[in-house]
Symmetry: D2
Subunit: 338 residues, 4 copies
């Protein structure tokens, strides 16, 4: 068992980390950090548990530490659920202190020597860890993409062989993506908000890095043109997206690619049976019915039509956030980077 | 004052017709038809009024007639809120009997001699009325497009000068578009349904006819490639759509086109002050806040970005249905077709 | 293992039965009935699965039978998810044919020789099974109450010792209680519907029977005055209710009664660890966060205030419907009535 | 025309004041105050308009002042939409400076010499203005009750003659009651929150003062026992409440009292045609359909049943907040207190 910690354990993503790590077969959750105000108290006394799964009582008795490197003496790996503005410095300090950092924050994603990884899509990019070590760092940082980007790249992974170049994507994103307090009910109820700060830029740039090629110690970005339009809709969990990809093959061949898709990894505890699930039903996937497929780690794809057009949907706070980081950690661990 | 009737006056669109016609300056609503079961009773006793505006008491005392030509002896013009399967035959019978029919049903929209009109976009297509008369009909049928198509074509109208050819559109459509009973709450609450029967086809074909050119007694369809992806979201009224149009001009010129746009009609009672309202705010238009602009007849456009990408939003049961038919009737009347 | 069947297996409650029975340790689900239209087809081909849990593939290959006694030759016990109007006759026929019937329908609940049972509240009422047998029936019918009544009586069970007589209850009920198609989205979104047909009467009469005393082969109803006001709110699952009970003891003693409560049954597979869970938090229970406690079988109680006032909340389609019937069947089985 | 101002004009209630005063026949809105940060700027540049009615352009060019007495030199009457913690001191300062203050804040409601008024219920309590003047104040403060209390007391007003003593009330309150940012979407979507801070206490105490008797320069509180249970539900506007009142008369007589009710005031511009509207439909009132009755100033009552039980519903930010203050100001003005 590897001792792990969670940075920012009381927030929405932090709670998801706690949920996923409470009974993890490889990782033992021993350290939880939060703001100074909570430090020194029991986790169960400071967290306002807002997930609809039971609170893991065994974790409740962990005493919360302040968010700093010195709190992490007993752990080898740390998951970061920190907000971007805090994450940059803290994560760097952790990596410099010899820790493996699996981060869900956006701060380091686009740095040239930091892997931006979706295990089923670009596991080979983990080789950037060696580049970080060459740069003199004892530990390292590995990041996972933005929630929408994860869903989109998983849906694109089975289609790589078709050699597409242009992607249009319109998202219908869940309110949980903005954190618990992020969206006032008066703003989104009976409404669509056609704007999510920085989301389109993230989808347009992160996708190129993830789908890029690792060669000569660096990632050459994919030569795609991604044009995104991002919208918030009144859904609790699950980002749905309408995608157009300029594939010239008939629909049937694309369908076959989805159905036959096998990811290049296997045997990781959090990895779902199917990373991409193809649906033939005329009106699926739907977030409420399909977001929990594969314990929230499967991306569902459907409504494949000529165009090539289709719908992709995945759970934004599991597959698109905490679960993504945990799967990255499992990949790192299985590749003996720890 | 012109005496008018409403076919199918008890349903969701029928109620909107009643609301819009109750105090119309040109039209006097004298006849309401419904199913045999309701015929002979007072409108107020058979309608289950479900709009959030007060029931127009003056209309309540009209005695409902069965839906047939013989019920329409006193009227010159009739609005059809009939479901498509019933509309085809009934509307034809009405037109043959000398009535002007303004229909919201889809049955006749794509027939070559029947105008499919959005008054601000293609008022000249009304000339097809003469073609119908040449074909020996006493009356005529004029149709308005599907609700999503109306919003989209109004948003495209100011951009015609740019000579675009390709349109991608992803809709986020309101539940009222399916009628009062059309969408079960268990289906759409906390959910997105990425499918609306026939909606994509309608947007892809109707748009070409509306934006086409009237010449030599027929409409030559516009040479666009429209690719639509249609989705239902938990919004009561107001269809929002993310649009991409292959315009090569800079964003500023497109913005100017939206702001300077003047429709080719004026002075109609139901016509809003602005047919297309451009918004500079980063997060608008939003259906809950903007759907009632111009009494529900204005299409709001915003989030204009390079691509060219933007958001269009309009009230689907007013601008996209009953109000569209009423505005058509006003145009017909002002053009002396009655 | 006891072979069991589900009557009406394709509807909302039927699907919950299938979910709960798919891997039951005591019951083997072998028979599923539905309308004539579906009979003869595989369950997976006729059911439109609408639960947010994965479809149980092993059940999918059961061939659906028509809803009639002759379909039930291989089973000893049958769960009824039939609508009330069909249930009356079919359930009687099943019981007369020697089957044990656990019914969620309302048809037989108030008949004098038919037990209306919540296992934690009135397990002794099962003795009415013997009365049915005395009346010459080979099998028997056992019913569970209406969903709101179950939640309320479980919340009252710990308070019996206080000798109250008057109950006021205002419910805020989930849309799933009306079945999948029961509530149009246009009716309930951004709305409260202060009326649910027959619900108040059910709460007011069923409660008296359940909380009544079994003596001399009959149930003497409790002498309570229950006054209910029932409302539908935009919640998917979970009935919340504000209750007033005329208990004259201080709040602390009532709290103790909730905390110390031990139901008179144990060891049933579907029985939750806590039948009634008391919450001290100022703003709980809440349906979205608490409905799945105890796999949906626990009733959560909180906001206990002088009055005596408190809030009770339970999952209406699990604890309040299918789960209630399954728990009844387990109780019957453990008491050797089969 | 009387010059008036609004304190706290940019918030949710402040915007409602602006909406209601923009074209008021008696009051000319000349002054808007907000925080220091906004002072000196045009209202249209600092307000984030979130109402679904058009922004009143004529008000947009008013330059915002800081919230202090010195900003109010040109006005005779000021409406307070300040949060309670700020209101206490500022409102006192305004009244001492000779201004008439109509406040929606809770700070002064229960002070013995300050009227807590619903014009249709206790207009005679305005006599406390003279008591304030006796205490040496140049101006005065008049308050309106909490939103739920207003709806409840209006529903009780027609029943006064029955001499009841005990009221149970369970509310289902709209999210707008907490202000624009007050309720996170993740908190209330698909949920009920059975707690609203201080709301039950307000309903239980304010009601007694409002329904009390003015005699000998003071208000003797009504001798009712009010027991409230307050809950937030996913509704945008409109507080619905289930009420029980211990009236011993038959339902028919209570119905008559509702129908025949005539309030003791008339001719005020904001006063609706009906202050209390009785509905016979089995499933009304409903917030989405009935909240805008009487421009949001009418309380709708229905589902009258023995018990005596019934449902009351009113628009919480119009009738229950800004509209209440405006109606108070009109009453004050008509009674020549200005």
């Amino acid at each position: 068992m590897i001792n792990v910690g969670v940075l920012g354990a009381t927030g929405a993503v932090g709670q998801r980390f706690v949920q996923l790590l409470a009974e993890h077969p490889w990782f033992k959750l021993t350290t939880l950090t939060a703001s100074e105000r909570s430090a020194g108290k029991l986790y169960r006394d400071v967290v306002k548990w807002r997930l609809d799964v039971p609170f893991p009582e065994s974790i409740g008795t962990i005493r919360v530490s302040p968010t700093s490197v010195s709190s992490l003496k007993d752990v080898d790996l740390v998951f970061s659920a920190l907000p971007a503005e805090v994450a940059k410095e803290t994560e760097t300090a952790c990596a410099n202190a010899g820790l493996a950092v699996c981060s869900n924050a956006s701060s380091h994603r686009m740095e040239p020597d930091i892997p931006l990884v979706v295990p089923e899509v670009n596991p080979d990019h983990l080789a950037l860890i060696d580049v970080q070590r060459d740069h003199g760092r004892d530990g390292f940082i590995v990041t996972n993409p933005n929630c929408s980007t994860i869903v989109m790249t998983l849906a694109l992974a089975p289609l790589r062989g078709f050699g597409f170049h242009s992607i249009h994507v319109a998202t219908m994103q869940a309110i949980s993506g903005a954190g618990f307090e992020g969206v006032p009910a008066m703003g989104i109820y009976d409404n669509v908000i056609p704007y999510i700060g920085q989301e389109e830029q993230k989808m347009e740039t992160e996708t190129l890095k993830i789908m890029g090629t690792f060669e000569q110690k660096t990632v050459r970005p994919a030569a795609y043109r991604v044009s995104a339009s991002c919208h918030r809709v009144p859904v609790i969990d699950g980002h749905t997206m309408a995608m157009w990809v300029d594939i010239q093959e008939p629909v049937e061949k694309v369908k076959e690619a989805f159905i036959r898709y096998k990811p290049p990894i296997k045997g990781l505890p959090t990895q779902p049976k199917e990373s991409v699930h193809f649906m033939d039903d005329p009106d699926r996937p739907q977030p409420r019915l399909d977001r929990n497929r594969g314990n929230g780690m499967t991306v569902s794809v459907g409504r494949l039509r000529e165009g090539i057009r289709f719908i992709a949907m995945g759970h934004n706070t599991i597959r698109g956030a905490a679960g993504a980081s945990v799967l990255n950690a499992e990949l790192i661990s299985s590749k003996k980077y720890l």
